[in-house]
Every structure is written in C-alpha cells, then in structure tokens.
Point group: D2
C-alpha cells in the first residue's frame, strides 16, 4: 500500500512523503496533532498540517536556533524556550555547560507527551534535571517575566492558531523586558521565498526594540523552500562579533563556527527584503 | 480543474506543484522533455522527470554556477558551458566584461529550441554575439579540446541518461586538459541529503586531478532537499583567496561577495562527507 | 514527467488519471473548461473540475441517456437535448431513423467548439443536417416551448454553476409543457452513493409532474462511484412496457434490449431511496 | 493533516481516499496487509495494495457473490468459501437457513485476525457455530475434496501473489470434483474495462468444465471501474431459471430478486467478450 502525506506549503506548491503508518492523530485543545512514520525522514510531527520536525532533519533547526544565540551570549545561564515542546532546542541548550536552568514553556502538553513517546532522541532531554517544563501560555509567561533570562528562543509554529500572537510586536517588547540587559533573543521567522512580507514586518518590529538585529538562514529540507530564516536581537551582543575563543567544542551535525558566521551572509534578494 | 505535477525526488519523497497547462511535451532523441506552466514557479523545464529550471528560482543556480568560478579566475576570457541548453548560465557569464567568447555545448537541440520559446528571460542570452551555441556531445567536445578555456562549467542533469558520463573521472581529466593551466572548473554535484555517495565519489575524483578542490552550496527550492552542492577545481586559483578588488558590481538576485565566501562554509555533515 | 489529474469527487474521495498533456484550458463565460489527454481514457472534457466525458467510456452515458427514452417513445420525431454540447447524445439520437429533427441547446459555445476540435468521434454528429445547434440558455428555451417535442433529454453537469436551475421543479414543469402529450423526458440524476438527497428530491419533483416516473442506472467508470442514475418521466409511455417489436437494431457498445429492462432493476438501497 | 491513500488500479488510473489513520500495517507470510480508516468509506482492508473491502460498500460484493449461487441451488447445505478471510461472504451465507455448515479456507490467518479486530460488522459471522474456519491453502483444500459441497465461492484477490493459481483451469477442474453433481460454483472475475483478457480466459476455462456458465455484474465503487464481474458455473443449475417460489426474504442492501436476474444482462461490450 502506498500512502503519501502531502503538505501544501502554499496553495500551489508542496511536498509529499511516503509514509509507513500513522502513529497518533488527535485534535488537542490547541491544534491538530499528527505523528506519522515516513520512509524518508523517519518519524514526523505535524501540527495543523505543517511539518514541525522529523527525525532525519531536525538537527538543523534545533542546532541553529540554539547555538547561534548561545555562542553569541558570553555566559548564558538562564535560558527560556517558548514553544518547542518536542524538546529539540532544549537538547541543544543543554550542550552548553554554562546553562544552569533551561525553562520550556509549551502551551500544548500533548506535543510534549507524544514527542516523548515517538521522538525519544529529540524529546529525551526534557527529563534532564536542569530543565523546567511548564505547560502554559508562552505569551503570558513572557508578560510576567522581567530581567530574568540570558537567552530566549521562540520555537513556534508558523503564525497560525495559537502562534499568531508570537509574531506581534507586543510580544517582542515583552521579550525585551523578560531578558536581562545583555540578553539575546532569537525567533524562527519563516522562509524568504513564500513569506516575504512576514519577514519584513517581523524584522522591522524587532529592530525597533533591539539595536542589534540580524537575520540568518539554514537549510531545512522539510520546511517550505528548504531555506529558513531566524531573526536574532539583542541590546548588547552582536552575533557577528563573537571572539574566537568563545566557541567551545560541541557535538553537532550542522552548526560549526564557520556556519555561525556564514549563516548571516544573506542571498541578495533576502538582504534586500530587510532594507 | 486541479492538475498537479509531482516529482518523486527519491522513491520516498517529492515535491508537488499546481500547474496551469502543459506547454510542450516531447520524447527527444536524448530524453523526455516537458515544459509546464506552474502557478508557483512560472514556466518549468523538466527533463526525464526532473525539474531543471523554473522562472521563479532559476537565478540561484545560474548565478552560483557562473559567478563563483568567474570571480575566482583573475581574467576569464574563454568560457565553456557543457550542457546548460536553457541558456541561464550563459546569461550570467555575459555579465562579466572580460569574457570574449562563451561556448555552449548542449547535446539536445530541443532543449535550446523550447527554452528560447518558453523561457525567453533565461534563454534570450543565447542570441548574444559573444555566444557560440553548438549542438553536440559535450563529452566529445571536452575530449577534443586542449589548453583552450579559462573557465569550464558543467551544467548537466543528474547522472541519468546522457549525463552519466559527465560524472566519471575520465571526464574530469579531459576537463583538466581542456583548461588552460590557470583555468577553473565547476560542476553541479547534487544534494547532500539524498546523494551522499555521489558527492563523495565526485569530490575524490576531482581532488585527484585538481590540487585546489572545494565544495560550496546554494539553496534551490525546486531541487531535492533545497540544498545544492557545486564542486570547483583548479590547479592555481583558490575561490577562497580572491582579492577584494577583483569583485566588481554585477546585477544579481542571489550572489554577493559575502555569499561567495559563505557558500563554502559547509554544514558539518556535508563537510564530514569530504573527509 | 508524471502529470496526474485528480478529481475530488467528494471532499474525501476521488479519481486520479495520468495525463499526457493539456489540450486546452479556458475560463469561459460560464465555467472553467479543460480538455486533457489522458493515458487511460483518451481525451477528457472537464467542466468546473468535473469529468464530463472521455473518449473511452463516453458511449455508456450517451447510449443510455438516448436510447432508453427513444425506444420508450413509439415514434420520436422531434427531439431536444438540453446541454450536451459535446454532441454525444445527438450522435445516438441520430441512430433512430424516425427522428426528423434533433435540437441541441447548449449554453456554452466553447463546449461545442472544443468538443469538435478534440472529441471529433463524439461531436462529429453535430454537423448532421437533421441537427439544429443553438447556443442559448436551455432553461429559457424550455420556458418558451410548448407541445413541441417527442423526447427531451437533459444532459447537464452536476447541479453546480449554470446547471443549478436544471435541477429545480419549475424546470421540470416547463419540460412537461414543452413536451407533446405523449412525450418522454429523461435527465441524468447523479449517483446514489454520494448524492442520495439529490436523487430523492429530483425523483419526488418529477413524480409530481409525470405519472410515470422511473429511475435506471448505468456503469460509468469516470463518474463518482461508477454507478449513475437517470430519471425518466412521461404522462403516457412506460419504459418497462415497450413492445418487443419496437426495438430495432442499432449500433451500440453498452445498450441492448436486455440492458434496457435490466437497468431499471435497482440495487435495494437505491430503490429504498425512492420510497 | 491531509493523508491520502492512492491505489493505482492500472498504471494510468486510480482512486484516492482521504484517511484518518492507519490501523494496522504488516507484511504477513503471504502478502502486505494494511488496514486504514478512511473518511468516505470507513475502515478499509488493503492487500498487496489493492482495496479488498470497505465498511461502506462491502455489502455489494458480499451479497452478490453469495446470494446469486445460493438462490440458484435448490437446497444448499454444505458451503465452501475459498479466501474471503474478512468474513463478509460467510455472513451472507448464514442468512440461508438451509445451510448446515459453511467452511472458510483462508490462506492468511492475519486477514482473519485483523478483520475481526477492525471490521467487526463484517467478520463477526466467523464466530457462528455453523462456521468452520480453516487457515490453509484453498488450492490444496479443493484438490483434496470430492463430491462434498453444494456451493463453492471463490473470494480471492486479483490474480497476484497467492491468488494466481486460483485463476487457472486446473483449479476449476478441482472445484468441479469438490462439488456435488448438482453443485454451483462462483468466482469473482475482475472488471471488464481494464481486464478483458482475464475475463475471456477464465470464462472459456470454466465453460469447458461447466455446461452452464454465466457472467453477472455488480457495481462496487472502490473496485477498478466500479463494475465487477462474477462467473458462475454448474452442471445442472441455471441461475436464470430459478423458480419464483425459491426466493425467500433475506435482509439485504443490494441484492433483490430483480437484481438477481438483471445482473446477468450484460453491457454489449461485456457480452461481446464472451463470444
């Protein structure tokens, strides 16, 4: 039997993956959650019809959202991940020995539950003693935090459903307050082929709050266009001025010291979006 | 009516694009040639079931295969493109004023014919007076050339059908002879997610011939995985040691001076393939 | 290149056909018209995303909509086809020597034009001298006709777009007036697997106008469920009481004298719909 | 998440069904077995990539393969079903009070196991005390039986995998011996749109063994073309000469006394195949 999962990434284009079986399918309180076993990418988490992560290519997103800000900050101790219930970002965060506490605020407990069950190599880190998993609204958590975190990562879905407000300026202002003065913030900010307006708006909003705002990219095969952007903001730390000796050895499959810098060299049409 | 073109990029994964109409479909002497009008990517050339180029994202491939070697060479005058019948590489080559003659050797005249008809913004450059279009076997052309070219670009399909022999070591040896002593060579070398063995073999073969051999990448949404590799080889010129003043202004949408350098920073798993 | 046409016959089920090329695609004044060349069914006419007819299986529909009423009527001379711009019903009508004039009233001239061009074995009959092709609104034509026709066939699309009013009771009342007293009327009335409510409503409406109302079926592979219903109505003629000698030899591929009778034996769940 | 199951019923045509989840997938000793929950047809059993039965339309096949021969035989007591591990035919057989024992010989115990689990309204009958379920090779069972059965039904997959030998003449000869002198035999014999040669061969083979051989049809939406044929053979009993009083009331959704007769009226092109 040939069973194919097709995600229309736009109204007019998509990807299609042969699957072995569905592992779980559920309408949670917040979104449609599907876990499927694909032949090419292993187990795959799909939220509201959008691929979130797969066993084969998850390392790109998780390494790039975590290590760029963590190496940018000189001494990250308190780290917050908003969203990211699959645990992949937390796994990367824990590779930094300076981190004393990593807080995960995920709105949908089912994402954590089924990631632990079906994506153990990704979600296993959530059981680490340095990790505090809170099933709660990340937007509210940010609103109630002040001068608390060294690094905040926003690992959300695309701006659909519960994630819409995570792409609004008020949220970034909250992040600015939740961070310590020399803190660093990063958010995934979609792709530059089909979501140019979003990238522009988000960049403009963040730049009005953080004097240092930069965009970097990474290749993720199962995300629309294969090219993903991340926007990093800080009042003090520049990801392009990291002293050579700050980079320590970490186990990785995508991130390297050179990739850290090269990721900020944007294709001309992407750079033009930010002007 | 919804009509979708699906390319299985592997046995287990693919892309799917909504199309408006077929523009041309023909079994040529060498391959299946299809030209389709898609909604997301404009007109799309498909050879033997593989997307070759689309109006929307063609600039990435064409700029990156052309400008990296052309800026690496201090004074490229004689340029050869093997394959590339759609004319996109030639269009980029002509942006370099030092180029006196650009020779295109395409085995399938139908590719040239239908690219001119349906991809005029790409193939238009083929009518330039500095261009010599030859409908002939690129493998033979290379075998018969000696000490003739400053830069050779291999713009082939994946190693299927007429392109198989363009991925063999004997072909690269021919290229070494066809180039002048300080010449530069580049070939598209597929993607590192699904074609790791090919990348390794080709890199090893080229490295045994050219002391300076490097791999660089670019993001192409309609190619498998969205991440494409190119392998550049030379006896004298290092693409990473291009003096700052050599870069002149060219009109581009992807390539920049910074991208030139950043493209050689490989994701760790790609770099590991080459060890 | 593999190009597949997929028709979602319901929100949850459909057919998919490999195509060679699109032959024509146009938004006419009334509907989206697509003509595609399929590998399994030959040329295929698609209106508003629904398969209307294909070269391979068109004979079933056209024979069954035509011969059942024409053999039911003792001496059909004046025949009207509402819709049916592809000409297939007319072709079958002309096989009956008693027919003096066959009028086709098709609202969309483009259907006639492109059927003549791409479905010549179906539309060829439209050039016969006994045929009067009118590009006009069948609903209005019926409203303006009185006591004029021996047999009226309604060969419409499903009740979408311009065909909606052809499924309303007022239209059937008009048909009753447009027919001679002993006239016979037939309409295609969709399939009993996915459109049960429609069949029930239409049957009830027609039965209130025509004392003799019966439903019969035929197998059409490219129509939803493969089982199609037709509803026949008359004030005088009963399709189940046709004297044996009335059947004359006609060239056919589906219709036979036995099929004429057997088609009225309904699967129990279909018969139950009409109670 | 939209997950679609697509069955290519030929190389060039197929059906596609939206699914909710996979219920079970397993490579058994004999074939690939998949159970999926579809939105349009409920739970669906797929063997070697071919839809076997669905909750929504299973009644057609099961009633038609069972009741036609059972009403043809004047007093069926001993009934054998070869294949049919989903239990649907058995369920229909048990509706005939004359039946003393119904033997099911299914080669693949997994089909029985998972039908009981996921298709309880179909397979429930297998637990009836009149039923003898044997997990064994039907071909061998036939070879070892003599003068034993009143009615034998062959409910196999299409001639692929373990079912190939169930379409060979030697098998029909065995059935002839396994039947009592006045026994009746029926087999599903695929569809007349895409499998004309098979129908012709099987009809010819059976006709050489059984003086009375007839073909009848039924509409099954999820089978290729929607029109399915069955071939019935007997040395004594003619399905078209069943006396009126033999039909007793049975609970059914497709089969009726009228359908029994009408099913033998073949579309002309089907009848022509048998000449």
């Amino acid at each position: 039997m040939e069973l194919w999962y097709t995600e229309k990434q736009t109204e007019r284009f998509g990807i299609t993956a042969k699957i072995k079986r569905t592992l779980h399918t559920e309408k949670t309180e917040f979104q449609q959650l599907d876990m499927i076993e694909t032949e090419e990418f292993g187990n795959m988490l799909v939220l509201d019809g959008m691929v979130m992560t797969t066993e084969k290519d998850e390392f790109v997103y998780h390494e790039m959202v975590a290590h760029v800000p963590l190496f940018t900050h000189p001494n990250p101790k308190q780290v917050l991940v908003v969203g990211g219930g699959d645990g992949g970002v937390i796994r990367e965060v824990l590779k930094h020995p300076s981190v004393e506490k990593a807080t995960l605020v995920e709105i949908d407990g089912k994402v954590v539950e089924y990631s632990k069950k079906y994506l153990p190599t990704i979600a296993g880190a959530l059981d680490d003693e340095r990790v505090d998993v809170q099933i709660a609204d990340g937007f509210m958590h940010i609103a109630e935090s002040e001068n608390q975190y060294d690094v905040i990562m926003v690992d959300s879905t695309e701006p659909v459903g519960p994630a819409v407000k995570l792409f609004e300026k008020g949220f970034y202002e909250g992040i600015s307050r939740a961070l310590k003065e020399d803190g660093v913030f990063v958010a995934q900010t979609d792709n530059p082929w089909f979501q140019q307006e979003l990238i522009q708006t988000v960049y403009k909003d963040i730049k009005e709050i953080f004097p240092i705002t930069r965009v970097y990219t990474a290749n993720i095969p199962t995300y629309p266009s294969g090219l993903w952007t991340f926007t990093i903001g800080s009042k003090k730390q520049d990801p392009l001025e990291v002293s050579e000796d700050r980079f320590h050895e970490i186990e990785s499959k995508y991130y390297t010291k050179d990739i850290h810098r090269a990721a900020f060299a944007l294709p001309k049409f992407v750079g033009d979006l930010l002007k």
